[in-house]
Amino acid sequence: MGHGGGGALSAELVEHVFAPAFGGETLATMADSAAVTLGGARLAFSTDTFVVRPLFFPGGSIGDLAVNGTVNDLAMSGARAAYLSCGVVLEEGVEMPVVARVAEAIGAAARTAGVEIVTGDTKVVEAGHGDGVYLNTAGIGLIPDGVDIRPQRARPGDVVLVSGQIGLHGVAVLSLREGLEFDVQVESDCAPLGGLVEAMLAVTPDLHVLRDPTRGGVAAALGEIAAAAGVGVAVDERHLPVPEPVAGACAMLGLDPLYVANEGKLVAFVPRDHADAVLEAMRAHPLGADAAVIGACVADHPGMVVARTGLGGTRVVDLPLGEQLPRIC
């Protein structure tokens, strides 16, 4: 199970098993979506599979995730998603109203994101071989001229931004999945980020890296960028926008908000000269209202992320191994 957690084990599986077997230069960039050229057009192309329990949670559902997940992966190349496919795997016995509700959510999310679902597929597996509904989406979109966004472009001196409060999705799902009740209900931040990215690109096409910090959270996103570009990343914990209920839930469970999943946030590496303007543009967009500078790309400690702690000490921010496990006491 750890190999699906979005941490070091996931990365090892992809790097050591899938990528060598599949071959190809484009895959080796390990970006959220592939940038390919077809008939003179630069396209972003991405796919993602959604295995979520429960299917519905505060602030969203597996349907929202399936649409927004792929839309956001495309946005991380600077592309606005145009067309999506949707594959559905149903477990025998799942109730039809549940399937209908998931389908409604997929349709509504696609309309919100401004993307058209143009092809699909349905399979049914035997009872006991699935969690009700699994979804896969793939999508394509056009990358604007002059835009080259990928992890390898991170440079020392880049300013590191996050688009808003972190940890909401992970805590929302955890609270429902495990029957944990917190004082304040936390809602998932699931949202399509294409519009926010467009607003950022309107300020400058020279965004170096964008990443949506989903599984493994901001820590995994920063760690992957540091490793891909061979640069160091220095973050300041005092500047991380962690909302109170997330901080409280994490403190109770022994989790670190930096590692908790997000579904409507992005991390950006921006040249210092453009950072002020990009931050301003992000804050002017509804999905970037709480955007913040959280650190910088540095020449020190290449491949690693280091945090300055609230008290003024330092610590390494490692890639999580697999899923975070709540502690015993």
Partner: protein, 377 residues
């Protein structure tokens, strides 16, 4: 944020640190007993901010780390049995047994479930009357009372398909063992606050007096740790050795009488083996005679399992404060969270895990660039 931010306030931390710096005149070695405290210290870089003369030694207080290999192997054997649902807190799942861990058992078809409370495990037993449900009861005085209460409840409700695999340990005998070790370097203790919130402090004055060592009951937030250090250093500089409660917001002198009564009813004190350390007299609990029929070891044939620790693992020395994790030859090379030799590398409270997670660069790192960057906007 109430109860979190106010115990991490950088300004208050600075004042406490200034106080410690002003007090210290000689080298002192303090042991934080609890693994949760170790993680707070390393995660927040507190050891980097203390005066050089104050050396923090990491203690044996990680419940996952001290659970003996033999008990882990028993858990793995029980969890792999058909018809068993094995319930555990999450952080036990990656702890290595002799040849696998609970994650591996689950991937091989065992029904291993993560729960957040032993009562959740009891509910699983109620919902699956045709299965045997076993809960992995490990931990210190903090987790023992709810586990005891679960067995009490099982009997009260007449639930027969539930049992506990018990490996509970007690802190005071461990302190005694550390202080009587010929290699002991510890001059003062930061006692684990949550343990004292259950048991009170009455077990400590005799220890403090006999070993002439200050014991300061300490919480888990950064300011708690700094206040604990400040009070311990103050005592040491004055030549005092008393028990002091620096965690009064959670710890009453008598502890939690209801929890202690539950412990006394369901458990009895026994000798226990600690992983990497060995048997410490009277250092654990087992189910008392009245509740022995809820003991998983009685219900499943696992008494024949015996094991040997991997020779390369020096976690026993780490747990006794004799070795820093990064001083071990295997640290970060043959021993990583991916390929752990011992539990200290995978437990969320393990000292080796804390060093691997937060301190792999060796010393402090310049974050000037981050400070500059955060002024943008």
């Amino acid at each position: 944020m109430k109860y979190i931010d106010e115990f991490q306030d950088p300004e208050l931390a600075r004042r406490l640190l200034d106080g410690i710096h002003a007090t210290v005149t000689r080298p002192w070695a303090l042991m934080e007993v609890c693994g949760g405290q170790t993680h707070t210290i390393i995660r927040h870089g507190i050891d980097q901010l203390l005066p050089e003369q104050v050396r923090l030694i990491h203690g044996p207080g990680c419940p996952v780390c001290v659970t003996p290999l033999e008990v882990i192997d028993k858990a793995l054997a029980i969890a792999a049995r058909p018809g068993v649902i094995f319930c555990s807190f999450g952080d036990m799942l990656r702890v290595p047994g002799t040849d696998r861990d609970l994650f591996r058992v689950r991937s091989e078809g065992g029904d291993v479930r993560v729960v957040y409370s032993p009562l959740d495990a009891l509910r699983v037993a109620q919902e699956n009357p045709d299965r045997e449900v076993v809960f992995f009861g490990i931990g210190f005085e903090t987790t023992a009372p709810p586990n005891a209460m679960t067995v009490y409840q099982a009997r009260r409700l007449g639930i027969r398909n539930f049992s506990l695999l018990v490996s509970h340990v007690r802190v005071p005998p461990a302190i005694e063992a550390i202080m009587t070790s010929p290699d002991c370097q510890v001059q003062g203790f930061l006692a684990a606050g949550h343990v004292c919130s259950v048991m009170g402090v009455e077990e400590y004055p005799e220890l403090a007096e006999r070993h002439r060592v200050p014991i300061v009951v300490t919480g888990f937030e950064p300011l708690d740790i700094l206040e604990g250090v400040r009070r311990t250093v103050q005592q040491l500089e004055r030549g005092e050795h008393t028990v002091d409660n620096a965690y009064a917001r959670a710890v009453r002198p008598e502890g939690n009488p209801a929890a202690r009564a539950m412990l006394a009813d369901v458990f009895e004190v026994t000798d226990r083996a600690w992983r990497g350390i060995g048997v410490i007299p009277d250092s654990g609990w087992r189910l008392s005679e009245r509740y022995r029929d809820y003991d998983a070891e009685e219900r499943f044939p696992v008494s024949g399992i015996t094991t040997a620790e991997p020779a390369a693992c020096r976690s026993g020395e780490v747990l006794q404060g004799l070795l820093k994790p990064n001083e071990c030859e295997a640290f970060g090379t043959t021993c990583t969270p991916r390929t752990p030799l011992g539990a200290t590398m995978v437990s969320s409270e393990g000292a080796c895990a804390a060093y691997y997670l937060y301190r792999r660069l060796g010393g402090p790192v310049s974050t000037t660039t981050a400070q500059e960057a955060t002024t943008v906007g």
